[in-house]
């Protein structure tokens, strides 16, 4: 009975994090983008600097009518947001924020594989949405999503493989446990490749070709309204949290920090994740959208060779210090 209670409590905590942290990132994005562009951003909802803007947005989305186009494939159209969102919830379960079993939802033996595998499934949601909408813009968005995913999955995996080689384990807590400060310069190329490929997989600017609003309206999500549209947006922000958390855990040493008492390691994890999330927002404001051929070229001729070079470097150093 105690075990069941323990599992239930962990799931509740992970679920709460899943619902709250993406909203915090979204609100930060509103404000950071606004200030970078010389605006104030939302100021009214909730009173103090518009802190409740996303809550108000949520209420608005819930009130909207849930429309399914007449020509659409009804069931798949309705199922797609869940397929896009749920994988990120599952991934969040496996990300450790502190040492010990108390600071991770569930220790997964082959953690890296679990995380990357389940994240890859989320893209099926975009594909389903793009196809089932029976809309040419949506289909184009779906196609671009698939092309982008196929190109960027490989460098992401290779970069993750490099850090797994360095640590000698594929378990996420194991990797952070083995982390030393000099891994940072050693794995920096892998970290950059991983982060960039992750951004592309989330379709965040500058890799937002699949949802390019000036060309194909909103890609695969064009036909969605109300709560289902909000779920897709939530999936994007949950994806940012997961990507930043993973980069922190794999490459930035998770709960290790230059100073700080034992038991406060989770603060370091959250701090690093927050800084990375800020970088994600910053990139959105400062870089123009990449064209489709530029996207493919970046993945196949830059990121994959870099990731392979990183793996070679990891292997050499590993053998040299062994």
């Amino acid at each position: 009975m105690n075990d069941a209670l323990d599992v239930a409590l962990r799931l509740v905590v992970v679920f709460a994090v899943f619902l709250v942290v993406p909203l915090v990132v979204g609100q930060t994005e509103h404000k950071v983008m606004a200030h970078m562009q010389g605006r104030l951003g939302p100021m009214h909802a909730g009173g103090f600097h518009g802190w409740a803007q996303l809550v108000a947005d949520g209420v608005k989305f819930v009130q909207k009518e849930d429309v399914v186009p007449a020509e659409a494939d009804r069931r798949i159209f309705q199922l797609a947001p869940a397929v896009a969102l749920l994988p990120y919830l599952l991934v969040l379960v496996a990300i450790p924020i502190g040492p010990g079993e108390g600071a991770v939802g569930q220790v997964v033996d082959a953690g890296i594989f679990f995380v990357l595998a389940v994240m890859g499934v989320g893209v099926l949601g975009s594909l389903m949405a793009g196809w089932a909408s029976a809309n040419k813009f949506s289909l184009l968005g779906g196609l671009r999503t698939a092309a982008q995913l196929l190109a960027y999955e490989l460098p992401m995996l290779l970069a993750a493989a490099s850090v797994a080689m360095a640590a000698g384990t594929v378990s996420l807590p194991g990797i952070v446990g083995a982390f030393e400060w000099w891994w940072l310069p050693w794995q920096i190329v892998g970290a950059l490749v991983f982060f960039v490929a992750g951004l592309a997989e989330l379709q965040r600017p500058p890799f937002d070709m699949p949802v390019a609003d000036s060309e194909i309206i909103f890609g695969a999500y064009t036909e969605y309204t109300g709560l289902r549209f909000a779920l897709f947006l939530l999936a994007e922000y949950a994806g940012i949290v997961v990507l930043c958390g993973l980069t922190t855990v794999l490459f930035l040493g998770g709960w290790h920090g230059p100073f700080g008492a034992d038991g406060l390691g989770w603060v370091w994890t959250l701090l690093k994740t927050a800084v990375l999330a800020f970088v994600v927002i910053w990139l959105r404001v400062s870089y123009p959208r990449l064209r489709e051929d530029q996207l493919q070229k970046l993945a196949w001729t830059t990121l994959i060779p870099l990731a392979l070079a990183q793996i070679a470097l990891t292997g050499i150093v590993k053998v040299a210090i062994a």
């Binding site: 033996d109 594989f113 890859g120 196809w131 289909l139 378990s171």
Partner: protein
């Protein structure tokens, strides 16, 4: 506590049977199935059903999505057999890449919403015969090979990443290397094919332009 062990425990608790497998001396039997075994059979039935729908449905994209269910079911079966690493690799490669590639191909060609009446060939009986023959051969071989082998779910996981890696690179390293050479050959072949076509197309195009 590994994920597989959690799943196994949850399944066992759900069906309210003993957590520990029967003692090796008595030998596990078919008449007193544990929760894991029941879950295994149920997931197997779902996988089988999804696979059947995949090959019989007339809606092409639905077939691809049912394939997702079938391959996902297989991954759950691997999990129940404590082969956690294989399960996640199955999800990563098949659900995350192969099915996405399949959907990409379908969307690029012809995948209308609704039934595709022309998505049928006259080879159904032949396909059925081949499928049944292949299934019979596989079932026979697997049953014959693993007749008396039981996985001890109570002990250390026998399909963890470490065990799988050790097995792969100690006992099966030659097939592994052979497969990687095969894949490399396929990769080189794909590059050669695509380059050749691209070069000749480009050549024709530029010739025509020059003639104009």
């Amino acid at each position: 506590m590994t994920f597989a062990a959690t799943v196994a425990t949850a399944a066992t608790a759900a069906t309210a049977t003993s957590t520990h497998p029967a003692a090796p001396a008595a030998g596990p039997g078919f008449l007193s199935p544990t929760g894991v075994e029941i879950a295994f059979v149920l997931v197997g039935l779902v996988t089988f059903g999804a696979a059947l729908v995949t090959v019989t449905t007339r809606q092409l994209v639905h077939a691809a999505l049912w394939l997702v269910v079938a391959l996902g079911g297989l991954a759950v079966e691997y999990l129940l057999l404590t082969a956690e690493f294989i399960a996640w690799v199955q999800v990563l490669i098949y659900l995350g890449s192969v099915v996405v590639l399949l959907l990409f191909g379908l969307m690029l060609t012809k995948a209308p919403v609704g039934r595709s009446p022309d998505a049928d060939s006259g080879n159904r009986p032949a396909a059925l015969a081949v499928a049944v023959a292949a299934a019979a051969a596989l079932v026979w071989v697997v049953v014959d090979a693993f007749r008396t082998t039981w996985i001890d779910l109570g002990g250390p996981a026998q399909g963890s990443t470490e065990v799988t890696g050790r097995m792969l690179f100690q006992n099966w390293v030659l097939p592994f290397e052979a497969l990687s050479v095969l894949l490399l050959a396929a990769l080189v072949g794909a590059v050669v094919l695509s380059r050749k076509r691209g070069a000749s197309d480009g050549g024709h195009g530029s010739d025509k332009e020059r003639q104009r």
